[in-house]
Symmetry: C2
Subunit: 375 residues, 2 copies
């Protein structure tokens, strides 16, 4: 690949352009809003000048419902040898492209799993995709040459290619991303009219629960609309679970005194809660593998400025790398309790070393045995 056209200079498009440019590829930037393209140009993502001839690859970084019409238009103008996109939904653009009579041999649908809540070119980074999965959904019609070009794109961005069936991708995204986002939004929306006197009783966990309810509503509405069927299926299944739990609770509320009903209902609840613990432990942690049980070293950090810095300096001095962090704190206190995640097997050692350095480590014990820990 020597040249590329980036169509749509939002977060993803601009980041792709920055990554390609860092690899010496000439990038031509296009956006429906010329100011956005000029912004990306000013950030060093490429040039807004039209390419002289046919570019090797056109990357469509537009919302899912715009992929097919934009593809048709670019192919009509013969802009590139090959085409790919980065939309979070794959089946609908593919179907619409076929319906519009696009050339399917030169097109590979794609979806880099990176980005998060931010949007727009100003937050773009060349290394946004480093180490991330990048799904490719070649159809039966896709040529090997087109697929190889897409594989080269993914490698240039430092990501890992993952080949998937388009429908399988969409169902997976519905489950692990789209539906959770919408569920979070619905939950957070329920809090809109709630009085502060009630909200102040909320604990830190509620902010975590609704953290996904951020991000551009317009972009997310487009993604959800484009993956409507699979997302609806997840929502309906979840609503059924919720109503079943509500039923158990209603039965419990009515059963005051009836021990059998109470025990059965309590057991059903406990089972749901236990499955919840199990389900959570399967979610990949920082290294893409399930988070081990009790991986964190918990340290109490005081209010004085610089405490966190001293803590992490000590962690580094002990020779541990910090993989993840959690902060817990009470209203009116800064910081408070810090959970430091280190490589499995090092937690006890780090806990012991920090205790020797005078830190108040609440867990785990310095030695991995049961019984009293050295407090």
């Amino acid at each position: 690949m020597h040249s590329a056209a980036i169509v749509g200079t939002g977060l993803i498009g601009t980041s792709v352009a920055l990554a390609l440019r860092a690899g010496g590829i000439v990038t031509h930037l296009v956006d429906a809003d010329p100011a956005a393209a000029r912004t990306a140009e000013a950030l060093g993502a490429g040039t807004t000048e039209r390419p002289d001839g046919v570019v090797d690859l056109a990357v469509l970084a537009v919302p899912p419902t715009q992929v097919a019409p934009v593809l048709a238009s670019l192919q009509k103008d013969g802009v590139a040898r090959f085409y790919t996109d980065v939309a979070g939904v794959k089946a609908l653009p593919g179907r619409e492209a076929e319906a519009l009579g696009c050339d399917l041999a030169s097109m590979v649908g794609g979806h880099p799993l990176a980005g998060g809540e931010r949007s727009g070119p100003l937050t773009a980074r060349a290394d946004l995709f480093e180490g991330r999965p990048w799904v490719l959904v070649p159809s039966e019609a896709t040529s090997t040459a087109a697929l190889n070009c897409a594989l080269e794109l993914v490698a240039s961005c430092g990501a890992t290619s993952v080949l998937l069936d388009a429908e399988a991708h969409d169902r997976a995204m519905a489950l692990v991303s789209h539906a959770p986002h919408l569920l979070c939004s619905l939950a957070a929306a329920r809090l809109v009219d709630v009085d502060q006197s009630v909200l102040r009783l909320a604990r830190h966990g509620l902010r975590d629960f609704t953290r996904l309810a951020g991000g551009s509503p317009a972009l997310w509405a487009d993604v959800l609309a484009a993956n409507a069927g699979p997302v609806a299926a997840v929502l309906e299944a979840f609503a059924a679970d919720v109503l079943e739990a509500a039923c158990s609770l209603r039965e419990l509320a009515r059963s005051r005194g009836d021990t059998d009903v109470r025990v059965r209902g309590g057991d059903r609840l406990s089972t749901s809660l236990e499955r919840g613990v199990a389900g959570r432990s399967g979610i990949p942690g920082p290294y893409g593998v399930p988070e081990p049980a009790h991986p964190a070293v918990e340290v109490d950090v005081g209010d004085s400025r610089g405490e966190l810095a001293r803590l992490f300096a000590d962690v580094a001095a002990v020779g541990c790398d910090i993989e993840d962090l959690d902060l817990e704190h009470s209203t009116g206190r800064r910081v408070g309790r810090v959970r430091v995640f280190v490589v499995r097997g090092r937690a006890h050692h780090l806990a012991g070393e920090l205790r020797l350095r005078g830190w108040e480590v609440t867990g785990p014990p310095s030695y991995p045995v049961g019984g009293f820990c050295d407090r």
Copy 2:
């Protein structure tokens, strides 16, 4: 208050005992499991010896469904002058205490809002309640003397008393704590049988979403059973929202080509998503006030050991206190992007200072103006 009996030496009971003891109050520890009481004793929470006479206050730190029977038993033995509890549900214990013929004048229901996922005496801390709200639900029958004793307890633990009606408390807890916990568990439970090939496509946000799905299933089952009615009501309302959203999505899926339906459905979705953003911003942040929009300084942190320590040392040197932290990272990278929350109004200053020190600060701009920021 000179003496207290702590009945139930789990996380909360032991923490209360530690706090009271630090204030010079004699604490007598009792637990259905004598080993648990001895553990708390070994941690310095008090003595397992029976009190000589009547203690001033008995604190019932037992699950909600056990409060009334334990209260009846303690009152029969004339253990204390006044009684309070710490269960997360208030209406049911009150009703059951009345039904059992307990003396309601000497009893004040209470609920300290602290603790989180951990349980058991080993994780107890004297300052667990510092700065936290502590709800008290005096009934019409509660004597002023009993209430004053409870207020003294709360003050001794460094918490802030909040007087509430018992039913209002339970409805509030259902909304901001109990239902979210159960919803998280149900969501996480759906992930149990999902293949790793799908889970690896999940992003960091999914772990946040299911973070509440931790904690002791047995304890939570008891809390949920004791607040069954209000929690069921929240779940039913939420399920209705979810099914309505699924309906909109199904309509969108069917409406390919019908622009009106698509626009209406898309608008309904956007409205839900926007309400989600609004709802989230109302949730109290570290200082108990709603989190300001874009409060965080975002810094890219490299892989080298000690980077985090250097970053926080620089933040301290600039004269900023860290109020909260967020870490984002890609699979295969440690740390990555750190969001540092500082006092509102200082973010731009900190961003500028960190840039001068060579940090790669992705936001906000050094000066709070629109347009190009100095990268």
